[in-house]
Symmetry: C2
Amino acid sequence: MEKLLDGIEEILLMGPGPSCVHDKVYEALGRKSLGHLDPYFIRIMDAIKADLRTLLDTTNTLTIPISGTGSSGMEACFVNLIEKDDPVLILINGVFGMRMQDVAQRLGAHVENLEFEWGTPVVVDPVKKKIAEKHYKIVAVVHAETSTGVKNPVAEIGDLLDGSDTIYLVDAVTSLGGMPIAMDAWGIDALYSGTQKCLSCPPGLAPLSFSDKAVAALEARKTKVPNWYLDLTMIMKYWKGATRAYHHTAPINMHYGLYQALQLILEEGLDNVYRRHRHYHDELVAGLEGLGLSMLVAPGSRLPMLNSVNVPEGVDEAAVRSTLLREYKIEIGAGLGPLAGKIWRVGLMGHTARQENVDRLLEALKTILA
Amino acid sequence: MEKLLDGIEEILLMGPGPSCVHDKVYEALGRKSLGHLDPYFIRIMDAIKADLRTLLDTTNTLTIPISGTGSSGMEACFVNLIEKDDPVLILINGVFGMRMQDVAQRLGAHVENLEFEWGTPVVVDPVKKKIAEKHYKIVAVVHAETSTGVKNPVAEIGDLLDGSDTIYLVDAVTSLGGMPIAMDAWGIDALYSGTQKCLSCPPGLAPLSFSDKAVAALEARKTKVPNWYLDLTMIMKYWKGATRAYHHTAPINMHYGLYQALQLILEEGLDNVYRRHRHYHDELVAGLEGLGLSMLVAPGSRLPMLNSVNVPEGVDEAAVRSTLLREYKIEIGAGLGPLAGKIWRVGLMGHTARQENVDRLLEALKTILA
C-alpha cells in the first residue's frame, strides 16, 4: 500500500492560507483525544473562549469556534441571523463579499449590494447614504478581503451604525491575529474567522462571536434556524454553563491546535504580533519593488498579511507559481475572479511572517524572473 | 500562562465516540500542512476517496469527506436533496432518527415518521405498508443507532425501495468501519458517516457518498442548495477532475488523519476488522453478564460497537461513570432522551475493540459495583 504521508515535503506556505504552522501546534494536534464532554476538555474549551475574546477585544459571552472551516463561520453568522425576506446590505469589493451575497440569498434574505472596484476599499460615504435611505436588518462587510489584499474601513462603518438596531456583521477570516480588531469598540455584532490564516493553525475551525444584540436577534427569531448543524441556540448550550448539553461531537484535536496557536500569539503579545506582520509586509513590499514589481493596492489600503502583486507584462503567472512550488517549495496564491492571471497573492500570515521567509521568496523570485 | 495541553491524561475512550486513536493517526495529524490545491494534497484526497469507496463497497464517484463532524454529513445529505415541501419518510428508533426529522423539517420538507420503540429495531412490514400507500422523495434510516445500540435492517429496507425513484438515505456514522456496509448492493443512494467512531480518527470530518441517482436528484433541483458551505454541486468540483476549483479551504491535517486511519483498516483487512469488533463485543457481553448486568437490546439486534447496558436497580449511574473516568481513566457514555439514567453506553469502536480494553473495563466495573 502506498504511503503518501511519508512523501509530504515541507512547503513554505506564502499563499492566502493555510499559513505556516508552529511545531508546537502540530504537536498539539497529536495529543491524546478526550471525550467531548470530559471535564478536562471543557476547561480547554473555556480557555479557547477566553483567548478568542482577548484577540477580538470583546466581552461577548458567545465567542466560540464553529466546527468547520472559515466559510462555515460565514454560513453560521448568516443562517442564525436571517429569516426569509430580511433586508440585508452587503458591501462588496472582492470574492468574499460576493460569497456573503450568495450565502445570504440562498437563505431567502432580500439582499442589496454596494459594490466597489476590486483592489480598492469600501468607501464610507455611499454606505452612509444607503443606510440613511433604508433600514437593513444586517449590514455586512469583509475586514481583510483575501482576494485582493484590501483593508476595509470596518471601524468607520461601525460608527455609522452606532445606536441603530441594525446588526453589523464582519468577516475577520484573514485579519484575526494579524491586525488589530476591536469588536466591541467598533460596534461589531457578529464576526467570524478561520484558523488557517494569521492564527497559524491548520484549517478546520471557525472562531465566531455574537454581541448581546446579535444574540437577542437570534432569540427573537420567529422560525427555527434552518440549519441544525450550525444552530447557535443549541450550540451555545454545549459551550457555556455548569452543565454542558451534547449537540454534536466537537473536533477535539483541532481544538487542541487552536488552543496552542492562541497561546503562542498571547505569549508573543498582540502588539508584537501586529508589529511583526506590519514590519515584514514593509520588507516584502520593498523587496518586490526592488525587483521591479508593483503592488495592486494603494499603500494606505494594503493588508499586512495578504500582498497582491501585479504580474508583469509577458510573464506566465501560473508557470512562476508552479516553479516556486516545485523547485523552491514555496506556495503563493493566484488571483481570483477578475484578477485571475493578473496578480499573485503573497501571504505573510501568522507564523509565516518572518525574515527568513521574506528573504527566501525574494531570492527565488529574483532568479525566476531574471 | 496555564499549559492545559500538558495536563491531558490518556483516557480509554469506551463511550459512544470519540474512540481510541492509533498512534500513527496522531502522528498523521501533525504532518506538515500543504496547501488545499497542492498537487500532492490532491493525491491524498484521491486516495481517501478510493479507500472510502472500498469501505462502503460502492463505485460512487461522489464519495468524499465533508468538512465538519458527523452531523454535518447528515445536514449535507438532507440539504442537498430536499426542496420545500418534498415528502420525506423517516424511520425513528432513537436520538439520531429524531435528529434526522429535525434537520429535514427545518429545511421545509413535509416529514412523516414511523416510530419504533427505543432499544428495538425498525420493523420492515410497517415500512413496506407505508411506502406502498404514498410516494416519498426520500426514505431515511439510521444503520447503527448510537443512542440505543440497535442495528436496523438497512439491506431489507433497501430491497423494498428497489426499482423506485425514492432516494434511500442512510446514517452510517457508527457502523462505518465496524460492521459490513454494502452501499451499492443494498440500494443506498445517500450515506454519511463520521471519523470518530469505528474509523478511530478524531472527530472533524464526515465521509459522504451519493449514488448516481442521488447526484441526478441534486442536479435536477429547481432551487439552489440553501447552504453554501455544504453545497455539493460546488464541493464536487474541488474533489474531482483534472483541474480542481477552490470552494472552501479543506481541513488539511484532518484529512491526513483520515487517510492514515483508512490505511490501518485496509491493512488489517475489512473482514478481520469486522470479526474483531464482533469478537470483543461477545467477550464484553459475556463479561458484563458475568457481573450480573444485562443488555438493553435483544441479541439479534445488538451492535458490536455500541453496547447498551441496563443500569442495575439502586445504582447511581452518573457516579459510576464519574468514578470510571476519574479513578480508572475510562470513559463510557450515558443514556440519552428516554434512556437517560437507565443505561450505560459502552463503545468498542475501531481501535478501542481490543482484549486489554475489555478486560480493563470489566475489572473496573467489578470493583466499583462490588
